[in-house]
């Protein structure tokens, strides 16, 4: 996955799909019930956070996140001709938290600095409704579901420690929130397919830092939106 880019992935997936078994009209009981997908997530954050609260924090100290990219995996269970259950997760991306607010805290650079990193374990379960008939190679779909996000491997960078004032323990509460998706599936045959989807989920967390016993807190709504391009194999 290291050399796979968002640009090159769709071409690869479409090529793979093209060499797959040609589509023939199939009866419903011949349609495979299980599908695995692999692809790539491009995640865009739309962060809204309260200013950091706590001792020795000047007004206006806030945070932002850098957009990130990661591998996407999903298992899809066909429930009916029109309904799928998707269990989606990605290789937990390492997100970078960016300082937002004053250019400096005292003389320590802050705005735009990468102050912390964490990995997101964020599986989602979605019930998806597919439009058009099963014989159609192109099937748009919409889905709703629930997302669970847990943050781990949380690190405050040296730049972050310079801002907080020393070695800092970072905690983020886990999040459970709704997720919605729209997408389109192209399945020219029985086995192989490609999809592209756009998902929005609500992920929020209470952030707490502990620097030498001094606690600072904020509440963050991450507002992640994910563009997914993936290939699927049904069986």
């Amino acid at each position: 996955m290291k050399n796979l880019t968002l640009k090159s992935l769709p071409v690869a997936l479409i090529t793979a799909a093209a060499v797959a078994t040609p589509w023939t009209a199939a009866r419903a009981d011949e349609v495979p019930a299980n599908t695995f997908r692999a692809g790539i997530y491009e995640i865009f954050y739309h962060v809204k956070a309260d200013d950091l609260q706590g001792p020795y924090v000047p007004p206006g100290v806030n945070v932002d996140l850098k957009n990130t990219q990661t591998a996407y995996f999903a298992y899809i269970r066909r429930l009916t001709s029109y309904l799928d259950l998707e269990i989606a997760f990605g290789v937990p991306p390492k997100t970078k938290t960016i300082g937002k607010g004053p250019a400096t805290l005292g003389s320590v650079p802050y705005n735009g600095q990468t102050i912390a990193t964490s990995k997101w374990l964020a599986p989602s379960a979605l019930l998806e409704y597919k439009f058009l008939s099963e014989s159609s190679p192109f099937r748009p779909y919409v889905g709703v579901g629930v997302n669970y996000t847990s943050f781990y491997d949380r690190q405050v960078t040296p730049a972050g420690q310079a801002g907080t004032g020393g070695p800092t323990r970072l905690s983020l509460t886990s999040s459970v929130g709704p997720v919605g998706t729209v997408g389109i599936k192209y399945q020219p045959g029985t086995r192989w397919s490609v999809i592209a989807s756009y998902s929005i989920s609500r992920v929020s967390s209470d952030l707490k830092t502990d620097t030498a016993g001094v606690i600072r807190t904020t509440h963050i709504s991450f507002g992640p939106q994910a563009l997914v391009v993936a290939a699927g194999y049904s069986f």
Binding site: L105, D153, V156, G166, P167, T211, A212, V214
Partner: protein, 534 residues
């Protein structure tokens, strides 16, 4: 269905495997020991890091800061402000956590890193329980800014406790003017700071081996007590500069009880009484033994307080100035009408028109007042029976000037903590600085008494006495001139329209009311000049 279960199981397993790999950044290690002088967390929190340019800009943004810079000079170093939390002991040896500041110079200049001298500084009395010398982000932390600009920004590592009873301390009272506790706390924070230094962001700034001890007002007393304690422990300091401190406590107490009431007395009285009650358990059986019924309730916890002192005055928790009753108590000593009359006269409201300090003294009388007349008389009787040597005229140089055997419990406590006690004298170069018009901590009864008590050391030039209000002369003449010019400027301000066009007497009163505070930066500058010699 079997395939579904196994596929879903694989996903769950993968999720769990990923989820188990989590780690987290560790915060500062927490000590499990409560040994005095050890840090609660090391490395400590750095509250702020200011380079020289930023610190100068921050100070220049206010009028007070600009005036301070005129005295201290512009910063040549940046300063990192660390918040130390350390273990120490209360007045009875009870273990407690205290806090304070470690200010570390930073920057490329040779005087800002590498081995640097340490200034161990003790601050003046604070009424606000939340006061924190390390918090340079708080604009009301003027003394923190003063010592940062005066010492840390000029290349000195500064260590300064907030004192037990303040900030995070759970002691519940402040051991005010308790020589053994406060000197012990100074020694504890010094040990804590030395262990923190190698773990700071500026670890290349190290203890250069020179130790200077100084402090102002209450801190002047604490600095001198620390000199005594370090000397007794066999630890050497490089030099010291106690400033405007109430060193000769018994003599000072006598002066106050006999009517020379100092400015701020209604603040100092509950602090010292509560402090000694905790230390010796014999100052009173009940607060009403000392205080009038108006103020006795809650007096033991009134200071330090999270509520600003102005609000405490407004809420009648303390009188603003009326320490004593304006109705003079009648002293009756059996078979001694003459002494009875003398003491009664000494306890009357001062009204000497030729003494410029009379309005200050007289402001210490009124109703409702803080200390009841019965208690005042008991103190006065002991002072009459066992006079302090400093009240002798002329004073006897080198003699044990403190009263040898006071009997009244407050006076005994003052005697115990009087820095003339302990059969000692400074062995290292010492500057005693103050201003002779100080209405808060009287110069002559404190600095003058110590100078007289230690006249051999003064004559040997181990001790230098500086009155910033004295006739300019010697190496500190520019500082004396600058202080006196600032006072004249202040007087002109109060006489001007901008200052309220006050009549001369009222303007002079305004100047004198700010005198104790205004002396501080000039004495600190003298201390820095003094230290620079070593």
């Amino acid at each position: 269905m079997k395939r579904f279960r196994s596929a879903f199981g694989a996903i769950v397993a993968a999720v769990l495997v990923v989820g188990c790999g989590g780690t987290n950044t560790e915060s500062a290690p927490v000590n499990n020991t409560t040994t005095h002088g050890t840090l609660v967390e090391n490395p400590p929190l750095r509250i702020a890091s200011l380079d020289a340019t930023t610190f100068q800009a921050q100070l220049s943004s206010s009028t007070a800061g600009q005036q301070l810079l005129q005295v201290t000079g512009n910063p040549t170093c940046g300063v990192d402000f660390y918040y130390l939390k350390f273990y120490t002991a209360g007045a009875k040896g009870e273990s407690t956590v205290s806090s304070g500041a470690l200010m570390v110079p930073t920057g490329a200049a040779g005087t800002c890193s590498g081995p640097r001298p340490i200034v161990l500084y003790a601050h003046g009395t604070q009424t606000l329980q939340t006061a924190n010398m390390a918090d340079i982000t708080n604009t009301s932390n003027t003394e923190g800014a003063l010592i940062a600009a005066m010492f840390a920004a000029q290349g000195y590592i500064v260590v300064a406790p907030n004192y037990a009873g303040y900030d995070i301390s759970t002691l519940g009272y402040h051991p005010f003017l308790n020589a053994s506790q406060q000197s012990g706390e100074m020694i504890d924070i010094l040990a804590a700071a030395r262990s923190a230094l190698p773990k700071t962001f500026a670890a290349s700034t190290t203890d250069g081996g020179k130790l200077f001890v100084t402090g102002y007002s209450e801190g002047g007393y604490v600095a001198m007590a620390t000199m005594q304690a370090l000397q007794a422990a066999g630890a050497r300091i490089t030099a010291a500069a106690p400033m405007s401190g109430p060193y000769a406590l018994e003599a000072f107490g006598d002066a106050i009880f006999f009517g020379h009431v100092n400015l701020g007395s209604t603040i100092f009285a509950p602090l010292i009484t509560t402090s000694y009650q905790h230390a010796y358990s014999n100052i009173y059986a009940a607060p009403t033994d000392v205080y009038t019924s108006t103020y006795a309730s809650g007096i033991e916890t009134v200071l330090p307080n999270a509520t600003p002192i102005g609000t405490l005055f407004q809420n009648n928790k303390l009188p603003q100035t009326a320490l004593f009753d304006s109705t003079t108590p009648q002293v009756t000593i059996p078979n001694n009408p003459q002494l009875s009359a003398q003491l009664t006269a000494l306890l009357s409201v001062p009204n000497n028109p030729s003494d410029p300090a009379t309005p200050i003294y007289a402001a210490g009388f009124g109703e409702p007042n803080l200390v009841n007349n019965t208690y005042r008389v008991s103190y006065a009787l002991d002072a009459a029976a066992n006079p302090d040597g400093a009240t002798q005229s002329p004073p006897v140089a080198g003699a044990p000037l403190a009263a040898a055997a006071p009997t009244q419990t407050l006076r005994k406590a003052l005697y115990t903590n009087d820095l003339r006690n302990g059969n000692w004298g400074p062995m290292e170069p010492t500057l005693l600085c103050g201003g002779d018009q100080d209405p808060t901590v009287f110069f002559s009864i404190n600095t003058g008494t110590m100078a007289n008590f230690w006249s051999p050391e003064v004559q040997a030039h181990v001790i230098t006495v500086l009155d910033v209000n004295g006739t300019p002369g010697g190496p500190f003449a520019p500082i004396q001139t600058a202080f006196q010019a600032s006072q004249a400027q202040l007087l002109q301000f109060y006489l001007s329209a901008a200052g309220g066009s006050l009549p001369l007497a009222a303007a002079q009163l305004q100047v004198i009311e700010g005198y104790h505070t205004n002396v501080a930066p000039f004495c600190a500058l003298a201390a820095r000049s003094f230290f620079a010699q070593f």
